[in-house]
Symmetry: C2
Subunit: 173 residues, 2 copies
């Protein structure tokens, strides 16, 4: 089965992102607005249990995660993806690193650029139009999130949450 | 904010349900296939923390949850909803009861009929056609799930998972 690890920002950021995703993001219906910590990877049932355990361990040692959204940006010319830029910080960097070593080994495909995608698969003309408008807009969100999620993918491409991991050793068991 | 509590059955049941939901369920893109334990309710940030704590407590005392899907059924004439029937059992009943008492007080709106919706908002003619075909089909899934989820609703009607609760005191913190 295919798994991924993401952060869902607060409802207000998700609602803001969705107001654009609705029009510009072909994945709008497949997953709520998110920051990808680890791109889709294959794992079986057995590895899954070990991973969940390790993710609890990592979460317990991770402090609350600062999320600061500062502007619209784009991966052009690599791709036509338009996104909300999330400022890098030590907590995000460290978390990303831990999710790509040990049990989660494997080099990340790309340098880690934390972001919330709001547009993809746009034809070049539309991409240029939309992005030229968006990049002029002021955006500012600042918050702290205290959890991340392990998800699995269904046959239709959509994602279901498998488990939540609360950071800072705040698990309320 | 609006919250709800659901069980996501295994991927194979979700994929099976989605093969119908895609055509027949207007909520297909809003949430993965699920069994509703508690219908949408309002809660604020403060109540949320207390609820999460209580849900961990309830989960720790809940054994693994048997899920047995036995046929297509319908809420007609109450509504045109078509669903996969989940056989009631003591664990589901007890969980449902606990999610409607104490901190979660409030009578359930309906008698608890555990189910996975696969069709809704169909015009009567189409409903009758589709249901007359589906009810003849053999369906049989049997499994045990070890978790349920607390979700919140975004402005576009879709649902994001807030937290996972693992039953049977198996939390791996």
């Amino acid at each position: 089965m295919k798994y991924g690890i993401v952060i869902f920002p607060s409802k207000r950021i998700q609602d803001f992102a969705n107001s654009y995703r609705k029009r510009y993001d072909s994945h709008y219906a497949l997953i709520p607005p998110h920051i990808t910590l680890k791109y889709p990877f294959e794992a079986d049932e057995e590895k899954l249990k070990a991973m969940a355990k390790e993710l609890h361990r990592i979460a317990a040692k991770t402090p609350p995660i600062p999320i600061k959204v500062t502007k619209f940006s784009s991966f052009y010319p690599t791709s036509n993806v338009i996104y909300l830029k999330v400022e890098p910080n030590d907590v995000l960097e460290r978390l990303h690193e831990q999710l790509h070593s040990g049990l989660f080994s494997g080099q990340p495909e790309f340098v880690f650029v934390p972001h919330i995608t709001i547009g993809r698969d746009l034809p070049s003309g539309e991409y240029a139009d939309v992005y030229s408008q968006l990049k002029l807009q002021d955006v500012h969100f600042e918050e702290t999130v205290d959890r991340f999620h392990l998800l699995y993918q269904l046959d239709n491409g959509s994602w279901t949450v498998y488990e939540t991991f609360i950071v800072g050793g705040k698990e309320t068991v």
